[in-house]
């Protein structure tokens, strides 16, 4: 049994360890150590919670049991999950944080005595407000993340779902939450509390369904941020420093990631949230254009020949590489090229893939050293001096239209200057436009050779031809 003051100091320590955990991620060298700091912080927080309650009733055995069950499930998932499924895993984990926040808030509402928040029917006003905010944000995080999970997993179509009056409905529901919380504080009614939860679940769903697949990096980061604010809300209710610090850290982390992702797409956060991007299909007029313009297409042999005779190659991976699981074959191809003294680097656009840093993880999985992988601004000038750009599974992030056509929906988005390379190899299944729903000018350039095939199969064929 330890005093409340001592417990508070330990919670502060665990908060600081969490800060150090994030600090470690500033470089891959220090990141592993950072993760241990995070684990240490968590162990301290949990142990201190047990010690400060002190009263070890027979419930304790059950608490430990549930802890072990959850831990085993978590560990199992962590070891089994393929790296390509990381976006849906993260979305799934967000939903758990959200739901846990909701349940803790419900428990506190039903038994405020246990948390020193007053008694049932007479909960302290401040606690009640904090609790309701925590529960509302938690519920939005939960249902929103479930939708994001379903979309990323492909169970639900990635296409935006829109209907008329959607935004007005969302706005009205949002306002109703505030009104309900106001009445909740006045009446302490359990029914109103449940209503707040249900409406928040509904908002979460409505908020995410109109957002299309290409905007998923923003959605995931945003839900990351929400899960932090939910935790902070509960932290205020429980008067727990570790939770407040963590909530603030996670909240701002997610917000920064959302900002970086939006900037990388040259879209405002508001327009992403309002959704519907990539929904308009003026496909007919595009088809005509396609028929008129000639496209050069080649096979693995041509590609191998071009690369063998190059002295530098830049690889531009995208979501298609993840879908085709082509990262290992790609690595094999690069090894062959390197044996021929060809310089190979990787160029990664911030929104390549379905979540921030998605491509980096996949390349790391395929044993690509991280100092060969470069971000957009660090490598963009190198395209002009390189012989071959190998675009595998990326599309919109290479479209020169973003620089030339002010009418294009992606105009102003920072893109990789792939077209400046002497030749461009573009692995793609067909000429279909990417998520932004626009044609890629790069396909029709004279120095572009289209390789129509599945990314993995094509890469493997090239490897064979490199011998």
């Amino acid at each position: 049994m330890i005093s409340a003051n001592l417990a508070a100091i330990f919670y502060l320590v665990s908060g600081i360890l969490f800060i150090l955990a994030l600090r470690g991620l500033s470089s891959p060298d220090t990141s592993r150590q950072g993760n241990y700091f995070g684990i240490a912080g968590m162990v301290i927080a949990i142990v201190v919670t047990f010690l400060s309650i002190g009263n070890f009733s027979s419930s304790l055995i059950y608490v430990i049991m549930f802890l072990v069950i959850g831990g085993a499930i978590g560990a199992f998932i962590a070891f089994k999950i393929p790296m390509t499924a990381m976006p849906e895993l993260v979305a799934g984990f967000h939903s758990l944080v959200g739901l846990a926040a909701v349940f803790v808030a419900i428990a506190a509402f039903l038994n405020p005595d246990a948390f020193n928040l007053g008694i049932v029917g007479n909960i302290k006003l401040a606690s009640l407000i904090e609790m309701s905010i925590g529960v509302a944000v938690g519920a939005i995080t939960f249902s929103g993340s479930i939708i994001a999970f379903l979309k990323l997993r492909g169970i639900m179509s990635g296409a935006p779902i829109t209907f008329s009056g959607q935004h007005i409905l969302n706005l009205l529901l949002g306002i109703s939450i505030f009104v309900l919380i106001f009445y909740l504080c006045k009446t302490q009614s359990t029914n109103i509390f449940w209503t707040v939860i249900v409406i928040s679940f509904l908002i979460g769903v409505l908020l995410i369904i109109p957002i299309g697949g290409a905007d998923m990096p923003v959605v995931i980061s945003m839900l990351n941020s929400y899960s932090g604010w939910a935790a902070a809300g509960i932290g205020f209710t429980l008067e727990n420093t570790a939770l407040i610090i963590t909530g603030a850290l996670v909240g701002s982390s997610g917000a920064i990631l959302s900002y970086i992702m939006c900037k990388a797409m040259n879209r405002s956060f508001v327009s992403v949230i309002l959704g519907g991007f990539g929904a308009d299909n003026s496909a007919d007029d595009k088809k005509e254009k396609k028929d008129q313009k000639p496209v050069k297409s080649g096979n693995a042999e041509d590609a191998a020949f071009l690369m063998k005779n190059a002295s530098s190659v830049i690889i531009v991976p995208g979501y298609g590489m993840a879908v085709a699981q082509a990262q290992h074959a790609l690595r094999e191809m690069v090894d062959k090229l390197k044996k021929n003294d060809i310089k190979v680097t990787y160029a990664i656009h911030p929104v390549a893939g379905r979540m921030p840093g998605h491509m980096n993880v996949l390349l790391a999985e395929a044993n690509v050293p991280y100092d060969e992988v470069f971000e957009l601004e660090d490598i963009n000038n190198d395209f002009a001096n390189s012989d071959v750009a190998f675009v595998i599974g990326a599309n919109d992030v290479t479209n020169p239209v973003a620089k030339t056509d002010p009418k294009s929906p992606i105009f102003g988005m920072p893109v990789l200057d792939v077209e400046k390379c002497k030749s461009v190899l573009f692995v793609k299944r067909s000429l279909s436009p990417g998520y932004a729903g626009i044609d890629n000018e790069l396909f029709y350039k004279d120095n572009t050779l289209m390789l129509f095939a599945d990314a993995k199969k094509m890469t493997e064929d090239i490897v064979k031809n490199l011998d």
Binding site: N35, G70, G74, A78, L238, A248, P369
Partner: protein, 103 residues
């Protein structure tokens, strides 16, 4: 007049947002995915609330409505804690420099 403890908590909260802001900007973009999974894991420190709720049951009634929610929240948060930290560890193990990869 005494300052409400809430103000102290609010100060911690706001200062932590600033710390978070500067710390996260210094995270290298190639580690943004591990950043998300580790923030996931640490936000599950919400488990402390779940433990308090779960242990609040009396010996006669270990499982009352409030503590049941606490118990479920423990499972959810534990999945996240173990899953989050372990998957982060797994990812970070894969990040290697050029030197290490020579066969």
């Amino acid at each position: 007049m005494e300052i409400d403890p809430f103000i102290f908590r609010l100060s911690i909260f706001i200062l932590s947002i600033f710390i978070g802001y500067y710390v996260v900007w210094s995270v290298t973009p190639s580690l943004h995915t591990p950043l998300m999974s580790v923030t996931n894991a640490i936000s599950s420190v919400i488990i402390v609330g779940a433990i308090i709720a779960a242990l609040a049951g009396t010996s006669e009634s270990i499982f009352n409505t409030s503590s049941i929610f606490g118990f479920i929240a423990i499972i959810l948060a534990a999945i996240n804690i173990f899953g989050g930290f372990l998957v982060t560890q797994r990812m970070l193990q894969m990040y290697k420099k050029k030197k290490d990869k020579k066969k």
